[in-house]
Symmetry: C2
Subunit: 232 residues, 2 copies
Amino acid sequence: MDEDSLMLLGSCPVPFQDSTKVLLGHGSGGKLTADLIEQLFLPTFRNPYLEKLDDQAVVAVDGVRLAFTTDSYVVTPIFFPGGDIGQLAVHGTVNDLAMSGARPLYLSAAFILEEGLPLADLARIVASMRDACATAGVVLVTGDTKVVNRGSGDRIFINTSGVGRIEHTRVISADQVRAGDRVILSGTIADHGMAVMSKREGLEFETEIMSDTAPLNSLVQILGADNNGGQP
Amino acid sequence: MDEDSLMLLGSCPVPFQDSTKVLLGHGSGGKLTADLIEQLFLPTFRNPYLEKLDDQAVVAVDGVRLAFTTDSYVVTPIFFPGGDIGQLAVHGTVNDLAMSGARPLYLSAAFILEEGLPLADLARIVASMRDACATAGVVLVTGDTKVVNRGSGDRIFINTSGVGRIEHTRVISADQVRAGDRVILSGTIADHGMAVMSKREGLEFETEIMSDTAPLNSLVQILGADNNGGQP
């Protein structure tokens, strides 16, 4: 262990005292994930982009405002009622870009395949990604494929990163949220999680619950236009 | 299996006839990887960006030319003589951007952690990424963390994606290479591969072979300036 990590471990009450190992909860998006971000990632990389704690960064290149985001998808099962890991990977990154008010433009896809994955499954997932890109109006421009030994992965993990153009001058960010703001739900909640879980655990309900995975960028564009009174 | 994948499998002599499953070679960067790209990814996503078969895409947003790239790092062992997976993940993506003549600007980092990874190892890797970013002059602006069950991963996988600005008007691409072109080596070859393999397999040599992982963007910038006669 180097000095930095010793210092880091010394200064972190939770979760580093509770556990010296990574727990499933560190990736759940809840308390442990927040601890990991606040106690490890933020202090190490400290910069104004990360400090916003948004799902995407807004960066400027030659005066053009871009949104840039990344997400890995490790969902099990990889095919579930209403969707699959490929479609989800496109929708998730498109939506993360849209949440800054950006128009999603370009996506990357990086596959970590476990040795032994049926090529037919990969083909089905990739076709699903193509359709999701077409629906969302984004182009998949670059990619990467790695294969790990059997038992060192879980069939397929997909990372998608994305770049979008911000076509407005507002600052849309989680740190702008105020008590009393209205929350807009784009559908009923928990459909996706329940669809995945019911398939994973073999749960049966009277009706099959379908994932509602979908690209929300066109919805968000309309929202932007409404709020903006026609201003760019 | 859907119609698309059936069609695809029907039209692919190699490797789909030899094997209906993903093999380690599909991720090695050699013949099987090329087959996978040419027989699956290209026909599915067919667009001019992917057709170049470069390690990065060059895209334009409002007249600004950007390079965009992604790579996942699954190296074992995660610490090796001369470096670690974190440093490698920064250098690799910085270099993929530089190979289009771009100035690397912004990086994303997405971690897939296996339950049980010592947090001290993660802290050491993250500190190493911070140092590598500082040396290369890039800012890590966005990230993601997922945790998979013990046995569903291999300690840590890291995806880095990157965005750079292309500050010249040349077209630098693998498809521009011609017979008779000179190849510039930035150092002795195979150091990195041998360093990793010697550690993985417990091989001992008279001298320890160190990985030569390094950011090459400043070298490439000089090259661009020399060739360019001062033109933008």
